[in-house]
């Protein structure tokens, strides 16, 4: 299970998010689809459930979504913004 790292705070601006890693003093921006993915991750959904949800909301293929979700999760884990429980 994934969750937001404890040193990460996030704020919504419209349908987008800004993330703050306050240990590093660094900010990150997420576009609308990235923000939606983040919301689903912090709600406790696993990658499979996120893909199932997003396929109903966006006009794209399952393969593209699966790739994009995996890539974003990977990047957010590398940056220390997400962690495994």
């Amino acid at each position: 299970m994934l969750r937001a790292a404890p040193h990460v705070v996030f704020k919504r601006v419209g349908d987008e998010l800004v993330l703050l890693d306050y240990h590093q003093g660094l900010y990150y921006g997420l576009d609308p689809i990235g923000s939606r993915m983040w919301d689903l991750v912090v709600e406790g959904r696993d990658v499979e459930a996120i893909v199932t949800t997003l396929i109903r909301e966006y006009e794209t293929t399952e393969a593209t979504l699966r790739h994009d979700v995996a890539e974003l999760v990977d990047e957010l884990m590398t940056l220390g913004l997400l962690e495994s429980e």
Binding site: V9, V13, E16, L17, V18, L20, Y22
Partner: protein, 284 residues
């Protein structure tokens, strides 16, 4: 300060000995500028600033009391005091301050921010020459009233580099130096100054220069990230202050128009840039 105040002073500045910090935690140390900022490890409300030219400040109790000493000139000391020191005081009191200038057109403000020497004061000066009133230079403190964002008035000076002085006034000697030891000059804007906290219409971010001026509205995380990069003294903030800053900036971009400005690479054309900014801000 010419601004009328109706309450007691909340910042007492005294000239006196600033002892070297001991048992201090370094907050910032910049070899390039030679500035060292440290917090007393025991009395954590005491923060000491030591500049390369020997100017020192001890800021206590979130700026209720500031003690300063210097070995250069009082003008150098005052430049630090009115810039980074008061910005630090504002921020340690939880007030968002942008590294920005601001002017007013009637009862609405345009806040102009830029990266480094991006020309915010020069643009503000051009707007003042087109009839705008001067509000603040360098430090723009943001205040909320009934869910609307306002910018506080600062003091009636704009500081510009020599090339801007030449572009605006034909000769750098048209403007006096701020201090004998620095090539930056100032424009006395007392005649055009309004000491009134003013509602913000637009925040213009000078993001770069190109062959032609272009202005576009930016929204959402792009606007928030651009302003987060242009807050005052962010490197001196602790984790809690960072969280508060994120809250304030996201609120700000939800309430005011944010414009990204790429200015024509020609200081002589600052008057045109000022006119375009007025037009884009929907203020005549």
């Amino acid at each position: 300060m010419p601004a009328p105040f109706d309450g007691p002073a909340d910042c007492d500045v005294a000239v006196g000995e600033v002892p070297p910090p001991h048992d201090a935690i370094t907050i910032d140390s910049d070899d390039e500028t030679g500035i060292r900022v440290s917090r007393d490890a025991v009395r954590r409300d005491r923060v000491t600033f030591v500049y390369a030219d020997g100017t020192r400040f001890l800021v206590e109790d979130r700026g209720r009391r500031i003690t300063t000493s210097w070995t250069s000139t009082p003008e150098d000391m005052a430049t630090y005091l009115l810039g980074p020191i008061l910005a630090f005081v504002l921020r340690s009191r939880g007030t968002l301050a942008l590294h920005a200038s601001a002017v007013a057109i009637e009862d609405r403000a345009i806040v102009i921010t830029a990266a480094g020497t991006g020309g915010k004061s020069t643009t503000a000066a051009a707007l003042v020459r087109r009839g705008a009133s001067m509000l603040t230079d360098d430090v723009a403190a943001i205040e909320w009233r009934d869910d609307a964002a306002f910018v506080r008035a600062g003091y009636p000076r704009l500081r510009v580099w020599s090339d801007s002085a030449r572009a605006l006034y034909g000769s750098e000697d048209a403007l006096p130096l701020i201090t004998p030891s620095w090539s930056k000059r100032y424009i006395d804007t007392r005649e055009h100054f309004v000491a009134t906290t003013t509602r913000i219409a637009t925040i213009a971010i000078l993001a770069g220069r190109a062959r032609q001026t272009s202005i576009r509205e930016i929204l959402g995380h792009e606007a928030a990230m651009a302003l987060l990069a242009r807050s005052s003294v962010p490197h001196l903030l602790g984790p809690h202050e960072r969280v508060a800053e994120l809250e304030e900036i996201t609120r700000l971009v939800s309430h005011v128009r944010v414009l990204e400005v790429i200015a024509k690479d020609d200081l002589e054309d600052t008057a045109t840039l000022a006119a375009r900014l007025l037009e884009a801000s929907a203020i005549r």
